[in-house]
């Protein structure tokens, strides 16, 4: 049998000799990530099992990120329930008190927990992010989390794989966010339901690891179960800086079977947005230039990394944002915050008129730190623009790359970043 990366990793985590797409199998989980959901539904659901253990406290990564520090009493209660559970079951990777650490999908890789070949699940749909690290990772609900806590296993349907062939190099002012928004627009938000997207080609090597994380983060917006990248030397260097744990790259077999092939030449990608209120509602930036905005947000698990901050600072250096715009900048982790401070990026943001916040999911889910009022329009580097996602149900969100977000903040209206770079 010849296998895609998804098939290979699933097979390695099952007790079967061979598998094929469409088959239902049981797999051993290497790591599970949980966040506020632990204090939401998970802790209550788990107690129904009436057991006093979890299968392996060393394979659970717990962090609070959506509502930190707690903006409301009910969020604080949720945090208490989550922390109590983590203590009760003696989680070894318990970061429930370290509210300074950052967003789960940034912190977990930074700490070296996502490595090639692993099978990771998490209580968050954007758990697909770790596919950038040549592992399989996907989001699950509270009850599935309870099943993993109790048994360390989960059923999976072996997915068919779409091969996404990338070649060339992104042009100036164009980012990996533009590529993934284009892919989602082309596939539609239902175009890859239950599929694994496998990213191939020389174009992969041209993308930074930050950029690959942005892409893997958003594959779920096309319905995909996994978004996994072929590995390279950049990835090896990235991981080796963060962990001494050994790992082996996973490559697909040469004659693996792909359900479909998609080809993208990175040099032909141009800045795009997803218009309200669906991440697949693609438009070229030229089509929406001039749309007046009230707020711009740079941050989230999609785009709160150094690559994003560097291009933002390049655009903002020595300039101030439009006087009627609120610009909110949130690093995806404390590590990024510190690096950005050191490189002088935070000072550039502050001098430009931005509000720089501590690391949290915050405005992406309309949680805190920049909730939108009625009829307001925001351009955001985050991943979802559903009705009411960032606040009032009559507010509107355009998703875009960090470069487009910042260029738009400068002018007070949606702007092509190539004009200001």
């Amino acid at each position: 049998m010849s296998y895609t990366i998804a098939e290979k990793i699933l097979l390695n985590h099952s007790n079967l000799k061979e598998i094929s797409p469409g088959q239902f199998i049981n797999c051993e989980i290497d790591l599970i990530m949980v966040h506020e959901q632990l204090g939401g539904r998970i802790h209550k659901e788990y107690e129904k099992l009436a057991i006093d253990y979890v299968w392996d406290p060393n394979k659970i990564f717990f962090i609070l990120d959506h509502w930190v520090p707690a903006p409301t009493i009910s969020a604080a209660e949720m945090h208490q329930d989550a922390r109590n559970f983590a203590e009760k079951y003696k989680f070894e990777h318990n970061y429930g008190y370290q509210e300074d650490k950052g967003i789960c999908h940034q912190v977990l890789p930074e700490m070296g927990f996502s490595r090639p070949g692993m099978l990771i699940v998490g209580s968050d749909s954007h758990t697909t992010t770790y596919g950038a690290f040549n592992c399989l990772s996907t989001g699950i609900g509270a009850t599935d989390v309870s099943v993993v806590f109790a048994t360390g296993k989960l059923w999976f349907k072996v997915p068919e794989t779409y091969r996404i062939n990338l070649k060339g190099k992104l042009s100036k002012g164009v980012m990996s966010k533009d590529l993934i928004l284009k892919i989602i627009g082309d596939l539609s938000t239902k175009g890859a339901i239950y599929k694994s997207l496998e990213f191939h080609g020389n174009g992969v090597n041209e993308l930074s690891v930050d950029g690959r994380m942005t892409i893997a983060n958003m594959v779920v917006e096309a319905g995909a179960k996994f978004g996994v990248f072929l590995p390279d030397i950049k990835l090896k260097n990235w991981i080796e800086k963060r962990t001494d744990e050994p790992f082996e790259f996973v490559h697909p077999d040469k004659d693996a079977l792909y359900e479909k092939d998609f080809d993208y030449n990175l040099s032909e990608i141009t800045p795009v947005v997803a218009k309200p209120s669906n991440p697949g509602n693609l438009a070229y930036v030229e089509e929406v230039v001039g749309v007046k905005i009230d707020q711009a947000f740079l941050g989230s698990c999609t785009n709160g990394r150094m690559e994003d901050f560097r291009i933002a600072a390049k655009i903002l250096k020595g300039k101030t944002i439009d006087s009627k715009i609120r610009l909110i900048v949130i690093p995806a982790s404390k590590e990024i915050y510190k690096k950005a401070l050191k490189e002088g990026l935070i000072e550039i943001f502050i001098n430009s008129g931005a509000v720089v916040g501590h690391s949290t999911c915050g405005p992406c889910i309309g949680g805190h730190l920049g909730v939108l009022g009625p009829e307001e329009i925001c351009i955001s580097s985050s991943n979802r623009n559903f009705v009411g996602r960032m606040g009032s149900p009559t507010s509107q969100v355009y998703l875009a790359s960090p470069a487009t977000v910042i260029a738009s903040a400068l002018k007070g209206e949606i702007t092509d970043p190539r004009e200001v770079l």
């Binding site: 939401g40 099992l49 057991i51 749909s125 609900g141 009850t143 099943v147 339901i193 309309g366 009705v387």
Partner: protein, 163 residues
């Protein structure tokens, strides 16, 4: 569990988890209070108007978005005991089965199924009878192990028996 009958309530395409339970409602501690906000951005009267219905029919990509299981649980609280959709988002499909609610994938059209119809679903046969329209539809049966989860009233009930 094998036979489910009742009136169907129609929803559209791409109904996402944020539509069903907005993020701002996720920190509400009382799940019954949370359920009162179900789909409020789509239809402010939904919770009132769904009272007479116990089956949802929807279009493509039902439940797209977040992993929040609350978006299944609120329907359960509101008395929904099956959802028929042209396609389901992956996590949402799992969440439905895990909480014991049949997720039936069926490309339906309005000649066979429309808002308010009284239907009967036979899970083991993969058949839906529309008693209002006197029509019969066939759907691809769920794999046996998923039916067993439904029979057991959800995956945690099933798991509890084995621990």
């Amino acid at each position: 569990m094998n036979k489910i009958e009742g009136c169907v309530y129609l929803l559209g395409d791409d109904i996402n988890t944020d539509d069903i339970v907005p993020s701002s409602a996720l920190t509400i501690r009382d799940t019954n209070e949370m359920a009162k906000l179900t789909l409020k951005y789509i239809d402010a009267n939904f919770v009132e108007s769904v009272k007479k219905y116990n089956i949802i029919i929807a279009g493509e990509n039902f439940g797209t978005g977040s992993s929040r299981e609350e978006a299944v649980n609120v329907f359960k609280i509101l008395g929904i005991n099956a959802i028929i959709a042209k396609s389901f988002a992956r996590i949402y499909f799992r969440n439905l089965i895990n909480l014991g609610i049949p997720a039936i994938q069926l490309i339906w059209d309005e000649n066979y199924l429309s808002h308010g119809d009284y239907i009967e679903i036979l899970l083991d046969k993969g058949v839906i009878f529309n008693k209002t329209k006197n029509r019969k539809m066939e759907f691809k049966k769920l794999p046996e192990f998923l039916v067993q989860i439904l029979e057991d009233g959800g995956i945690l009930n099933q798991l509890k028996k084995t621990l």
